[in-house]
Symmetry: C3
Subunit: 205 residues, 3 copies
Amino acid sequence: MDALYLLGLTATAAFAASGILAAMGTRIDLFGAVVVAVVTAIGGGTLRDLVLGVPVFWLHDQAFMACAATTGVVAFLGRAHLDAHGNLLAYLDAMGVALFASGAYIKSTELGLPPTHALVMGVITGIGGGLLRDTLTGRETLLVSPELYATPIIVGLGLQALIISVLGMPTDIGFAVGAISILVTRSLAIRYRLQMPAALINRPR
Amino acid sequence: MDALYLLGLTATAAFAASGILAAMGTRIDLFGAVVVAVVTAIGGGTLRDLVLGVPVFWLHDQAFMACAATTGVVAFLGRAHLDAHGNLLAYLDAMGVALFASGAYIKSTELGLPPTHALVMGVITGIGGGLLRDTLTGRETLLVSPELYATPIIVGLGLQALIISVLGMPTDIGFAVGAISILVTRSLAIRYRLQMPAALINRPR
Amino acid sequence: MDALYLLGLTATAAFAASGILAAMGTRIDLFGAVVVAVVTAIGGGTLRDLVLGVPVFWLHDQAFMACAATTGVVAFLGRAHLDAHGNLLAYLDAMGVALFASGAYIKSTELGLPPTHALVMGVITGIGGGLLRDTLTGRETLLVSPELYATPIIVGLGLQALIISVLGMPTDIGFAVGAISILVTRSLAIRYRLQMPAALINRPR
């Protein structure tokens, strides 16, 4: 499916750019930042493939690495402009998460995983790269965020599971609904600071 | 060995609950906390299976994921009660570590690893999930703890290696002695703040 | 190639010692520190082998684990002396990085990876163990360092790729030039605080 491939590259670029933005709080240089960008971009998918026991996706396809590195260089050089937008990091993360999570669901079911496990693989793949990014750059992870973060992913993948694995509708439709649902819900959460009901948020003492 | 399987689920639940407790220092919501719980519960065993080159244990067995997620939800909803106990996180961690470490020793020797390497696999499996938990929630890892942490694991697995690989006694006995030894020693260390002799503890300047 | 094997053990010892030094900022005990040393020493190579889909290098060869653990114990017991040298951690890291990165390039091309991907594998392998070390000990990663860090690795591996994959010269020469180039450049960067031109360094606001 060529569209899925192109969306994978889009997600790779979005995650790479989010890696550069995350590094903006540190005194990092060009090549250091590009390493952060690449690790962010390929981290989630690498984890997914290792767990699934299939060859790592970027190892025999030069496009992903080239895309991540190029985006990293361009984003670093243009960082003065990027920096201005408040929540850009979160929006880029949302784009990467949505596409990687929904794509991983498809890949997992094609390998014969049951829907529940494909959903878990989607979550792991979606958030894996971002967790590496936040660890590398010493930031608190977005998973511990005031706005909805895990919820849109789990709900979106739940919808995707319903469409593909319960209703038996075409994979493409399930992917589209899942990814768009994650992206839109998460974006609304960032924009309007949507949160879970107070009873479902922890209040540290 | 069915008992080993049930103990694996017990360890999974203990680690999942420790993940929820670790997240109590942050403003995290239900689903975010459940992700932390699941990653904590399956992290060590996933790492073990990747290194051993065998299929990841939870991928074709729904019980572990279901156990981790359910424990996470229940523990989060009941967090007001959990929170009260001072060292509960450390005790739950000890239970997970003991069972996972000793179980990994068995699995590794069954795959033909020599005792020293089975011991290393036990350590990695035991502490892997907790390290992911502490990284995700921004806590200092328990490995850097004032009380004995790595020592009980290494000593317990050493006993287990002696019983199984040197004395040739039954695997079950070795497992029981190893796991109980780790759990008891570590619990005593938490309760009575047992430490190494001062010469074997680093004093940062 | 026996020399490559011995250099691998040297890199293992250097990384293990860097792990002990990194732990010197914490109240860690002997066994905790040895775990940090071992994870630092085998982390990068483990990641490399998992991504390459080959058996993990230390699993059926006792030398690496024995070397890492022994170095860890000795370095911890002699920590009073180590501690005195200001940049020793960075120099030991440089030695480990240089040897592991160049070695990973060789291993990757032998497995049929194209030069660009072998270069990426070199970077990942070189910095992987150090990132684990810095995460475990709660330090800011060296990747975010005022001096050149990623640059010497990328440039050195680029030279190595030129010699081996473009000019078709013997692997040993490429390895030697790559590793020495990384070690020397990085050491000069530490000693003289060499940095990228200011335009290529981020200035956090």
